[in-house]
């Protein structure tokens, strides 16, 4: 096998500058971006607005913050919303953009935005950063003492406005969860061309941080595929100059697994960053995330329980951030009030549990960590083998052959030959392995665990089990016992 490497056409600087301008010229507000002024503005920001510094400070001081999702189209309402998040202890604030912005339909956004102001109603499902432009977005950021992150779209307008995260690397989220026809080759193309921007800022002393999502599991599904993708995202981002990143770790509701994955993901990411030569890229923390379906709209009690469960897992694992949604997640875009009520609950857990510095062992967690580690290494080894040492080549071939695969994808170019279900204790197991190169004895382990559930329920696990499991956590029923008195 060849030396580990990342194939990369590093774009030349002139072309980079031209491409950046082209991107910005797609909407008039792009003119507001003066690259040098943007750097100067970023450098003038206080530490409390710089994402990576906020995360490191939280970690060093043994604190935590919720990292929520929030966006509403009217600027004044957005300011109020973010201020109320800050008041409930959130220091990592997202700016969720609307779906039209994400697809570059700025004209349409402009029209609807006018309608929003006319009616006073939030007709967009997020805050359209591009349409607002630098100056107005700065107004948002300057009115709240916290670090800001544009979600999914915002480009250099977000950076110039003082947000301090940015995307680089191969984003499996866009490929696996948001696109219908994009091929893995197209993902590589698009992510390698544009993304030197982050490096450009880094060269000038501005470190933008990034959260790694990996390929969303979308349902109760073992996290090994996701962690493989976290690693791919990390090394490709580092290659493009990203100096600070941290993984979201998708919590599925089984404590032993959740804790195992929270330990495993950053450990393996570090290992591979180092292996590929990116010792200077830092991991700023770990962010357990609330992933499976949320409790239904009519069950705020369950929703609170779910979010405090994930907060508790975050606190017990001494994470510095937790990716949480509000109790209205199953109902629709939340209001300011449900946001703050939700994160005050999380903060209560953080403050009460995190500060106890509890040292504890969960017996099965070590075994789960080992199983997932073997799976991750098996998939990664095969990828590097397929790429003859080049992780990008390998990834392309892996996706095309289903060596890397994930269920429920909207993307028609994805194999989608895999499926997960829970076992008798709610842990996620592979029901269908597709073409994943999981070692035989590990496959056997999954089958045995599923068999335990089958015995308990008196029926074979199949597609319908997987569909039912979409809601199992949401309904507070991870498997196991039949209803009381039945």
């Amino acid at each position: 096998m060849q030396k580990l490497r990342i194939r990369n056409k590093r774009i030349n600087d002139d072309l980079l500058m031209k491409k950046r301008r082209e991107e910005l010229d797609k909407w008039p507000t792009g003119k507001e971006v003066d690259f040098d002024e943007a750097v100067a503005y970023q450098k003038s920001l206080p530490d409390s607005k710089i994402w990576w510094k906020v995360m490191v400070k939280l970690r060093e001081e043994g604190r935590m913050s919720v990292f929520p999702r929030a966006g509403t189209p009217i600027l004044e309402n957005m300011i109020e919303l973010c201020q109320s998040l800050r008041d409930s202890g959130v220091v990592l604030i997202p700016v969720t953009t609307d779906s039209y912005t994400r697809l570059g339909q700025y004209e349409k956004v402009e029209e609807i935005l006018k309608e929003c102001y006319k009616t006073g109603k939030p007709l967009l499902n997020g805050f359209p950063i591009i349409n607002y432009g630098v100056e107005k977005t700065r107004k948002l950021i300057e009115s709240v003492d916290a670090a800001f992150s544009p979600r999914a779209a915002g480009g250099e307008i977000a950076i110039a406005a003082g947000m301090t995260t940015a995307e680089a690397g191969m984003g499996f989220l866009g490929f696996g969860s948001y696109s219908k026809n994009m091929t893995i080759r197209e993902l590589v193309e698009s992510s390698q061309n544009g993304m030197r921007t982050i490096g450009w800022y880094a060269d000038r002393g501005v470190i933008l941080c990034k959260d790694l999502h990996g390929w969303l599991p979308s349902a109760p599904f073992p996290l090994s595929v996701n962690i493989v993708c976290l690693i791919i995202e990390a090394v490709t981002a580092a290659e493009q100059g990203q100096k600070a990143l941290y993984p979201l770790v998708h919590c599925m509701g089984n404590i032993a697994q959740d804790l195992a994955w929270i330990r495993l993901a950053p450990r393996l990411i570090r290992e591979y960053l180092d292996k590929f030569g990116y010792q200077d890229t830092m991991i700023t923390g770990t962010c357990p995330a609330q992933t499976p379906l949320f409790p239904v709209a009519m069950d705020p009690g369950g929703a609170f329980a779910y979010l405090t469960y994930v907060s508790m897992v975050g606190a017990l694992s001494r994470s510095n951030a937790v990716d949480l949604r509000s109790i209205d997640e199953g109902a629709g875009v939340p209001t300011k009030e449900t946001h703050t009520m939700s994160y005050r609950a999380a903060k209560w857990i953080f403050d009460v549990v995190r500060e106890q510095k509890i040292e504890f062992d969960v017996k099965e967690s070590e075994a789960e960590e080992k199983v997932t580690e073997i799976e991750v290494r098996a998939i990664l080894d095969r990828i590097l083998e397929l790429g003859d040492g080049d992780i990008i080549d390998g990834t392309i071939k892996a996706v095309e052959s289903g060596v890397l695969d994930s269920p429920w994808s909207p993307n028609v170019t994805v194999k989608d030959n895999v499926l997960g279900v829970r076992d008798a204790r709610g842990a996620c197991r592979y029901l269908e392995f597709g073409n994943l190169p999981i070692p035989d004895e590990i496959k056997e382990f999954h089958r045995e665990k599923i068999a335990e559930r089958e015995k308990l329920e008196g029926r074979k696990a199949d597609y319908h089990t997987a569909v039912k499991d979409l809601w199992s956590l949401s309904k507070g029923k991870i498997a196991g016992l039949p209803p009381y008195d039945k």
């Binding site: 039209y100 499902n125 199953g330 875009v333 979409l470």
Partner: protein, 142 residues
């Protein structure tokens, strides 16, 4: 026995949520329907074109991201123009932005041409067994 009715599924507009419409499609297939599964981000025009091409008996449209009304502004007119006035039209999902009372939202979508409007997290199997089969029979499609 008649030929199985043809049903089109998909999420409208630029909505990327796909899991629901996948589950819906499979449930329809399992129930014996002929399903044309368009997946996510289907434009109103595409729904209409495919309906014409396939001579569809119904569309079971999904929208999760809250902006369905914006996406569907001209849909009803166009489908009437396309001669699909008699085709059964259902929609389900999270139909507007924020928590809402389905009773208030239903008439708005009925105005947009939908025969039935479903609140978030509707049980699709129940809908097929009750509403869909009944409506198709009423229309003589089953």
């Amino acid at each position: 026995m008649k030929k199985a009715p043809t049903i089109i599924t998909g999420t409208v507009g630029v909505d990327a949520h796909v899991i629901g419409t996948k589950v819906v499609s499979r449930a329809l297939r399992d129930a014996g329907f002929n399903v044309v599964e368009l997946g996510m981000q289907v434009s109103p025009e595409e729904f209409i074109n495919v309906a014409q091409e396939t001579n569809a008996d119904a569309i079971l449209m999904s929208s999760l991201y809250g902006m369905a009304e914006l996406d569907l502004k001209e849909f009803n007119e166009k489908r009437r123009e396309a001669g699909l006035g008699d085709m059964l039209l259902y929609i389900g999902g999270n139909l507007v932005i924020g928590r809402y009372d389905p009773k208030e939202v239903e008439p708005r979508f009925k105005k947009l041409g939908f025969d039935r409007v479903y609140p978030p997290e509707t049980d699709i199997v129940a809908v097929i067994d009750s509403d869909l089969k009944k409506d198709l029979k009423t229309k003589g499609k089953m």
